[in-house]
Symmetry: C2
Amino acid sequence: MKESKIAAVERILDNYLEMNNHRKTPERYAILKAIYNINGHFTLEELNERLASEQKFPVSRATLYNTLNLFLSLRLVTRHRFQGSTKYEACYDKKSHCHQICTICGKVTEVRSPDIIMAVENMHLKRFRKDGFALYVYGICSNCQSQMTKVKKLDKQDKQKSKTK
Amino acid sequence: MKESKIAAVERILDNYLEMNNHRKTPERYAILKAIYNINGHFTLEELNERLASEQKFPVSRATLYNTLNLFLSLRLVTRHRFQGSTKYEACYDKKSHCHQICTICGKVTEVRSPDIIMAVENMHLKRFRKDGFALYVYGICSNCQSQMTKVKKLDKQDKQKSKTK
DNA sequence: TTTACTGCAAATATTTTGCAATATC
DNA sequence: GATATTGCAAAATATTTGCAGTAAA
């Protein structure tokens, strides 16, 4: 299964490079393979390390940026910019990305939502070819909610203290 | 109308600062006011210039970052990270943001979509308090689509030439 | 042989941080 | 007066760019 997915994206890359007289460098294929062997989000740094240690195929930062941009334009990867860190993600056969993001702790959770996918598909955008989407739902996770309740209680105590004082 | 909106967000800020024993510095109010006088997206740089030239109230970059983060956590502004540039936006009374983004030229267009808003509202996220969302629909705008058609035609011509040669 | 691509290093851009001075409470 | 906040400058990050050497076609 995974093998055939990699084969499929390699074919897309092949095709693009041939059509545009660009070169089939080993770097490009190594990077593509590395990306499609990662599950979920990854940073450029993580990708770099994987290439160096696991794949024994270190590449320069400049090449990584170049190649990621190429893949971005071919829609073989997507980029998310979460608070502070930029994350990439393989996205062939995965055109929709729904995330819930806690605005307190920054935790990002991926969620599936057929309803949203349908709603976006039915969205009417004039003269615009939709290729995919990302949804970020912001809010507060249960963890931080209970944190906040605690803090509020402490605040109340503080106020009472300062009143009595 | 606009006046009352600014008054409303100022009250939120007031309240927060008082509750948490933080200080009501003129910077914070000047920045908040500047933000709510901007229509649509703005960069930190643009905000900086506005404060210096229009409001005659220049502040340091560090303070801008600090204050924007404060407003972010108070949900008085949102932050979008579009390709390359980070944009902010006033978001009191505007909890949903739908954008269509051309992956070729990078053009961002804001779109309204009651259906999406409803779909997100109905989304069931376990133990997560939804506060707002941003949707980014990626694709290709009509402009770039016609660009591409032209390029394809040229490519075809090139191929024919090299064949005959 | 041609030239697209890589890697390096330097340049830019962006954001964070430490700290002394300042202003709010 | 205590200390949260500002502004500055430096530091840390992140990304882009120019160019010489390398390698794919």
